[in-house]
């Protein structure tokens, strides 16, 4: 297994291949700043929940360097932030559930958003795991069964300003 490129995005920093990228915003606004800087022409970004925005923008930056054949991501809290947002729309007496929020109440939507954007027709999976280390054997197993490279890594979001993505482009040799 070989990692050719990696990116880590937290609410306060972006590190691409070990080099800090200068940013001025923090939290969810940081993701919008990155979208404006690296994408800018994909308005669907604004409809995404924070988890999907995080995974989408991390993938966007990495896949500009190198395309991939598959997407394997994981986290511990699934789509909890958006689940809570959706719950708010169905808890009070004024009952207007939001279809736009409902569609993001599954964490694997982020892998779908990435695959749609980059026309990836191979494996796409999202695993909800106890800890980050549990993802490694899954990626190993995946690499034995699909063409490489793949986009793999941890994509966690527990609130709009609490998130962490560590994505890598991974080869099987």
């Amino acid at each position: 297994m070989r990692v050719s490129h990696d990116i880590e995005i937290t609410p306060k920093s972006v590190v691409l291949d070990g080099k800090q990228i200068e940013v001025s915003e923090t939290g969810e606004r940081l993701l919008v700043e990155l979208y404006r800087r690296y994408v800018g022409d994909y308005p669907k970004f604004y409809k995404m929940d924070t988890l999907s925005r995080l995974g989408f923008i991390a993938a966007e930056i990495l896949l500009k360097i190198e395309p991939v054949e598959a997407v394997i991501l994981g986290n511990h809290n699934a789509s909890i932030k958006n689940d809570r947002d959706y719950l708010k729309t169905i808890t009070d007496g004024n009952y207007y559930p939001s279809p736009a929020l409902f569609v993001y109440t599954l964490p694997n939507i982020v892998t779908g958003e990435i695959a749609i954007r980059h026309h990836i027709q191979g494996e796409t999976s999202f695993y909800v795991l106890d800890k980050q280390e549990d993802l490694e054997p899954i990626i190993h197993a995946t690499l034995n069964n699909v063409p490489s490279p793949i986009l793999g890594g941890w994509c966690e979001c527990s609130d709009k300003d609490e998130f962490n993505a560590k994505l890598q482009i991974i080869w099987n040799n």
């Binding site: 308005p43 604004y46 736009a100």
Partner: protein, 85 residues
């Protein structure tokens, strides 16, 4: 009518999360789906919810949606004729 159109544009921007957009960016006569704003089926559901929530309109005939949601202006005309609040 023009006041309702401007109000509706603001509500559409908020409901569909078009953070970068202002009412002035939306052409009242441009198609909402396909070209124009490029809305999708989930957005259509949001617009149906908007009509119910803001104007007390429940769409009884789904086939009517195509004509109602052709543009912001056709939406506003339908609202003016059918609103209950």
């Amino acid at each position: 009518m023009e006041q309702l159109i401007e109000q509706l544009k603001g509500q559409i921007i908020e409901a569909l999360n078009f953070e970068e957009m202002t009412p002035a960016d939306i052409d009242a006569d441009a198609p909402l789906f396909g070209e124009g704003l490029g809305l999708d089926s989930i957005d259509a559901l949001e617009l149906i919810m908007l009509l119910d929530r803001e104007y007390g309109i429940k769409l009884a005939d789904p086939k009517a949606g195509k004509a109602i949601f052709r543009s912001v202006r056709t939406m506003a005309e339908y609202i003016q004729a059918n609103r209950t609040k």
